[in-house]
């Protein structure tokens, strides 16, 4: 279980202090699938970074399985069982896909074990295990590899920041199945996804709407989703495409 209590976050720039997150509180229960949505620039990605430990909140506390992890480092949180998939996956010169999966799994995965994770995210595994995680991979390929690293980690809690970006429409359904499988594989597995996609919102147990750094709505999917349909917080994948990915 992950709990955010009164989290605020601000940055200082030349115009003075700017508040990005204001007094945000919510709970992601065990075995729960939560989607955070809301307008761009509302602070969703910052919230994901705060959970992973990459950004430190200026106020508030974070609890994981009842333990206060606010002052814990990225590494400590990762070891406690929190995984984080980057919105824009990082490229490495020389590090191969299999190296990354082995680091993620924390053990010396065999090639066939590594291939199994890649196949799950729709990559023809044999073509990818030895590839370098560098600029030769497309954005979509990197996104899938990023998801595969989280599968290899298999932790209790996983945060995905817009995992669907760059993923082809035909594999959208497979992606959703990946999330569903991930959750059921862990005893207390819970997933937090930042997304605007209606089809991802549709499989959520809980939806949290963040706007202007605050929680504007929170509740069960059945209550929240109908209020979002037709807004930019819940975009139909095909509409997003015809609008040139404006969402």
């Amino acid at each position: 279980m992950l709990e955010l209590k009164n989290i605020s976050f601000g940055v200082n720039d030349e115009k003075g202090e700017k508040e990005i997150i204001r007094d945000v509180s919510f709970v992601v229960a065990d075995n729960q699938f939560t989607v955070i949505t809301g307008p761009n620039g509302g602070g969703k990605s910052t919230l994901a970074k705060i959970i992973a430990g990459i950004e430190k909140p200026t106020a508030g506390r974070i609890y994981f399985n009842g333990e206060d992890i606010t002052d814990k480092s990225v590494t400590e949180r990762a070891r406690l069982g929190i995984s984080y998939a980057f919105q824009q996956p990082v490229r490495f010169k020389g590090i191969q896909v299999i190296d990354l999966l082995r680091i993620a799994a924390g053990k010396n995965l065999s090639v066939s074990e590594a291939c199994a994770y890649l196949s799950e995210v729709g990559l023809c595994a044999r073509d990818y295990v030895d590839r370098e995680v560098n600029a030769s991979l497309s954005g979509g390929e990197l996104k899938r590899i990023e998801i595969a690293t989280l599968l290899a980690r298999g932790t209790q809690f996983s945060v995905f920041d817009e995992p669907e970006a760059g993923i082809d429409l035909w594999s959208f359904q497979s992606l959703i199945k990946v999330f569903e499988r991930m959750q059921t594989r862990q005893e207390k597995g819970s997933i937090l996804i930042i997304s605007h996609q209606e089809r991802i919102l549709d499989i959520a147990d809980q939806i949290i709407v963040i706007a202007a750094g605050k929680v504007s709505k929170t509740g069960k999917k059945e209550e929240i989703l109908p209020t979002l349909l037709g807004t930019s917080a819940a975009v139909n994948a095909c509409e997003a495409l015809t609008e040139g990915g404006k969402a």
Binding site: A52, T75, I95
Partner: protein, 305 residues
């Protein structure tokens, strides 16, 4: 050979015992072992220290190991090795030098390797440097390499120096005739107060000659590196040189890629990049459970792989 020399041999030549094929092992300034084959002859030079390696034309799939190990403090040597690689042959040459210096005096191995690569011959050359020992004496290696490539020949050079050498000055000069191709892959890591200088001068003299000289390096602590690579195009040819370096701590790096075109159809490209490890790379690996130091090691290992 003693245990230290055997360990050095393993580091520089991946050798656990006597290699297969032709070899010449030099230990503490003297020949320790030699073997020749029907196609490969090794002869000691009469006037200076060193050997001639003569590979018959048409020799295929044979290997030559010529490692040098030094475990005596205060030893200084200069060695001249010449390789005559016959036409149409296809061979692997593994050289390398390991110095273990536990004493207070400097140990130095300087070498000049000259390669005469015959028409359409194919050579893979691997050279590894390694230093160990906790004495105050420095471990110094200054390799010079001359490569003369005839028409249609191919040479791939892998130069590796990852650990323990205090000072290196590497000079490589190559002349390529028509349709010859040279590939250089240099990997270098310096630490402590080490200095490493690497200079390349590649002359593309014949039509269709090609060269690709790429260095990847990591400079740690207070070490200093200079990479100076010049490709000269004297004919319709293509050349590429690249230096990609990661710096850490108080290290300093100077990269000087240079191109000289003396022919309208010489297509030459250079690239150079120096920078510290990207913060987001560290963070990504930390989100996978590594601490900062482990993340750094993974990034450097991958980079120098």
């Amino acid at each position: 050979m003693d245990a230290i020399q055997k360990r050095l041999l393993m580091e520089v030549a991946d050798l656990h015992g006597t290699p297969e094929g032709a070899y010449n092992i030099r230990a503490n300034g003297e020949m320790a072992a030699r073997s020749t084959t029907a196609n490969i002859d090794i002869v000691s030079k009469a006037d200076v220290s060193g050997i001639d390696i003569i590979i018959k034309p048409g020799t295929k799939n044979e290997s030559i190991h010529i490692p040098v190990v030094m475990s005596k403090s205060g030893l200084k040597e200069m060695v001249y090795n010449d390789f005559y690689i016959g036409e149409d042959s296809d061979v692997i040459i593994v050289a390398g030098c390991g110095i273990d210096n536990c004493g207070g005096q400097d140990s130095e191995h300087d070498g000049l390797h000259r390669f005469f690569v015959g028409k359409n011959a194919k050579v893979k050359y691997v050279e590894k440097h390694y230093g160990s020992g906790d004495g105050t004496g420095k471990r110094i290696l200054n390799p010079g390499t001359e490569v003369h490539m005839e028409e249609g020949s191919y040479m791939e050079m892998e130069m590796v120096q990852i650990k323990g050498v205090d000072s290196t000055e590497r000079k490589t000069v190559a002349d390529l005739a028509a349709d010859a191709k040279l590939i250089v892959r240099e990997r270098l890591m310096t630490h402590g107060d080490q200095t490493a200088v690497s200079e390349y001068q590649v002359n593309l003299n014949g039509k269709g000659a090609r060269a690709d000289v790429v260095s990847r390096s990591v400079a740690k602590d207070s070490s200093y590196q200079r990479f100076d690579s010049r490709i000269t195009g004297n004919a319709p040819c293509s050349g590429h040189t690249e230096c990609d370096a990661i710096m850490m701590d108080n290290a300093r790096i100077l990269a000087i890629p240079q191109l000289e075109a003396n022919d309208l159809d010489a297509a030459l490209v250079h690239e150079a990049a120096i920078g510290k490890i990207a913060g987001e790379q560290l963070i990504k690996l930390m989100t996978l459970g590594l601490d900062e130091q482990q993340a750094e090691e993974q990034i450097i290992n991958g980079f120098l792989k």
